[in-house]
């Protein structure tokens, strides 16, 4: 289990409260698809996601970005038990969706960059370090049910 100081808990909460999921969700997934185009392989049902323009305009991408961040909200609310909170999600991504877990790391990096764009100077080095520690715990939990 990951240990959190009070300061780290409050940092993660503060960062999360500064974010509008409906705004950031679409941005994050668009960034993942544009920066790491091989991730397109998982979204065959989304229609045209093969050019930057198409990605930026695709409503299914935007909607799914929100789905992803809603799941992250669960981690924020259950920081002491992310592994159990994400057990079903991890199993789903392995058994059904067959997602290479390296993609979780790529998504985490894009989340950090999008949050940095939003928070600007408020994402100081300490906040960045804590946020990345949190996302690492999320990534580890997402990998936990792979066998």
């Amino acid at each position: 289990m990951v240990k959190w100081t009070d300061k780290e808990r409050s940092t993660v909460r503060t960062v999360w409260e500064s974010i509008d999921i409906d705004e950031l969700g679409p941005e994050v997934l668009r960034r993942v698809l544009i920066v790491y185009p091989w991730t397109e392989r998982y979204f065959g049902a989304f229609g045209d996601i093969f050019t930057t323009t198409a990605i930026l305009q695709n409503p299914k991408v935007a909607a799914h970005g929100i789905v992803v961040l809603r799941a992250l909200d669960q981690a924020v609310k259950n920081m002491d038990n992310i592994k159990d909170t994400y057990a079903a999600l991890s199993r789903l991504h392995f058994e059904k969706l067959e997602v290479d877990p390296d993609n979780f790391r790529l998504l985490a990096d894009c989340i950090t960059i999008s949050v940095a764009c939003k928070l600007r100077a408020e994402m100081n080095p300490q906040v960045q370090a804590t946020w990345q520690k949190f996302l690492q715990a999320v990534v580890d939990a997402m990998c936990a049910q792979y066998y």
Binding site: D109, A116, P125, A129
Partner: protein, 143 residues
């Protein structure tokens, strides 16, 4: 994942907008890397301080960005252009190349905080590729 003409144009366009802040970005990025990835401190045990904003961090951040600036000017042949720097890192500094990824990430976070409008997904992918190719060029002489 080599740099296309489009990538090079995007890197140069982004660079034109942010180059005045190169020193600040360098100092910020190095400071962030040391805080977010404490294992990187092992390379700086000879410094009086590794604190964010301290003199050695600011100076060295500036030096690192000087290397990035050089790389932008040599974007058409990074391996040839960064040969001396590669030899320095390979034979003298012996920095584990895994750390280049961490520095690249922190450079991008720094740019994102200072230039969010300019650091669009399109600029992000070009810079990510550029920094990855820079890291490869820097690792060229390692073995």
């Amino acid at each position: 994942m080599s740099l296309t003409d489009k990538d090079k144009a995007a890197v140069k366009a982004l660079w034109a907008k942010i180059s005045k802040s190169a020193d600040a970005i360098g100092a910020d990025a190095l400071g962030r890397m040391i805080v977010a990835y404490p294992q990187t401190k092992t390379y700086f045990s000879h410094w009086p301080s590794t604190s964010y904003g301290s003199a050695p961090v600011m100076k060295h951040g500036k030096d690192i960005m000087g290397g990035v600036v050089l790389a932008v000017s040599k974007i058409d042949n990074l391996v040839a252009g960064l040969l001396d720097l590669s030899e320095l890192h390979a034979f003298k500094l012996r920095v584990d190349p895994a750390n280049f990824k961490l520095m690249a990430h922190c450079i991008m976070v720094s740019i994102a905080t200072k230039f969010p409008a300019e650091f669009s997904p399109q600029a992000h992918v070009a810079l990510d590729k550029f920094l990855a190719n820079l890291a490869l060029a820097l690792s060229e002489k390692y073995r």
